[in-house]
């Protein structure tokens, strides 16, 4: 691998791959691939960087999974995409795969897929065939935790998967209606993990479950530290504790702590970034005040600093969805975000400055950075 970065971009109308030079100064936009197909997530495998996986569907056709073994040059369709068991009592069918997660480093070939309606699926053969994870999908409380019609405008979702790098059996899910769920037996059993996470939209503001976890991320150097961007604030949890701390309380009041994404620093467990959106009144979900900015904490969420150098200073109404803000793990860390207006913005200096590196793409759903 080189120092060059590739950005895997999933959009509502296809996929693009941006590749940089080693300095991350110059970017080339390659694509489209799968033009017209809805690409919810396009991911590179850190265990084998030439392996890509894409979750696709179209407005007409049902969902499928496409796999590339040559960094996106050619693709093969899964022979058995994620699907709920035929004849199951709930009668669910996968509308789309929302999140793809490469398996633990000790399990080459294993992938996980999180879907809408909410479900979890596992592949042990590099994404060719997928099995329903019965421990979750047939859990006695699944319809209480995640009613199929109880989620986002695009459907109820399992919004993210995080795997403990020390233990393949220990995983977390971010969900849109049960908050965070945890398993310590690789999906056989699950328990909510939501203590002190607020739920502004339910009669009980601190329920056992019901929260909308937009995204979770484990600190790479300290997987006991979980960052969460929730529908109702920014949180941090240090295991084995069960009680989340609302670190978003330290955000400026006129900005708030609502957003979709959270990005941890690859080498410092005190540092993370968020990209706030307006969650007031009717929830515009755009940059507060029309002034886009990332916010960085370097003290575990005790304080936040605004990073808006390079972004529009007015009339910049960005919406950055859950999977569309990421880092490249470099030193310094490169940061990338894609907007629903089809723009990609990059920072090569840990958010100190930003510049637009692509525009005029379709609505961006996901941006994933990987080494070339």
């Amino acid at each position: 691998m080189s120092d060059a970065i590739q950005l895997l971009v999933g959009t509502r109308k296809g996929a693009w791959i941006l590749r940089s030079d080693a300095a991350r100064n110059h970017w080339r936009v390659n694509g489209p691939q799968f033009l017209g197909q809805i690409v919810s997530h396009l991911v590179a495998d850190p265990r084998d960087p030439r392996t890509f996986m894409a979750a696709v569907a179209t407005g007409h056709l049902g969902p499928t999974i496409l796999r590339s073994a040559d960094a996106g040059e050619t693709w093969r369709e899964a022979t058995q995409p994620p699907a709920f068991p035929k004849g199951e009592p709930q009668g669910r069918s996968v509308d789309h795969t929302f999140w793809l997660e490469p398996g633990h480093a000790s399990e080459p070939g294993v992938w996980w897929a999180a879907t809408s309606p909410p479900g979890l699926f596992r592949s042990a053969d590099g994404g060719d065939t997928w099995d329903s994870v019965a421990g979750l999908n047939a859990h006695p409380k699944i319809l209480d935790w995640m009613p199929p019609d109880g989620g986002t405008p695009d459907g109820a979702i399992v919004a993210g998967i995080a795997i403990d790098p020390r233990d393949a059996r220990h995983m977390y899910l971010a969900t849109c209606s049960a908050g965070v769920l945890e398993t310590t037996d690789q999906g056989a059993t699950w328990a909510p993990l939501n203590e002190n996470v607020r739920c502004d939209f339910l009669p009980d503001p601190y329920p056992e479950y019901g929260q909308d976890a937009h995204q979770i991320a484990l600190a790479p150097t300290n997987p006991d530290r979980i960052w969460q961007q929730n529908h109702c604030g920014i949180y941090r949890l240090d295991r084995p504790a069960q009680r989340w701390e609302r670190i978003g309380d330290a955000m400026p009041r006129d900005v708030g702590d609502i957003g979709f994404s959270i990005v941890p620093h690859p080498r410092c467990d005190q540092t993370a970034w968020v990209f706030p959106m307006d969650g007031t009144e009717v929830w515009p979900r755009v940059s507060p005040g029309g002034r886009p900015a990332a916010y960085r904490t370097r003290d575990g969420g005790a304080s936040w600093e605004r990073q808006d150098n390079g972004f529009p200073t007015e009339q910049g109404w960005f919406t950055v969805k859950r999977q569309a803000f990421c880092g490249d793990g470099g030193a310094p860390m490169g940061l990338y975000l894609g907007t629903t207006g089809g723009e990609i913005w990059a920072s090569a200096d840990e958010g100190e400055s930003w510049r637009q590196i692509a525009a005029h793409l379709p609505e961006i759903y996901s941006v994933v950075a990987a080494r070339v």
């Binding site: 179209t58 407005g59 007409h60 056709l61 049902g62 499928t64 369709e77 899964a78 022979t79 995409p81 699907a83 709920f84 068991p85 035929k86 004849g87 199951e88 009668g91 669910r92 069918s93 996968v94």
Partner: protein
Amino acid sequence: MIQVLIPSQLTSYTGGVTRVDAAGATVGSVLDDLDARYPGLKFRVIDEQDRVRKHMRLFIGRDETRSIAAPLGDGDELLIFGALSGG
């Protein structure tokens, strides 16, 4: 033999062919026959609970069906369309 009209959304599976012959006595078995030749095609049209996907429409001749159990006879035409899925 059943003649099947393939919509543009599925021609990536059929190599660009828009009319194919298939065998089967029901909509489901005809789609199974197509899927054997064009792997993956059926799941894009029919979900795992055997329902026709929301924005796909199937016609036997001029009669629409949403059932994979609908019978087909020799010489029937099965028309598959993708329709009205948004902007």
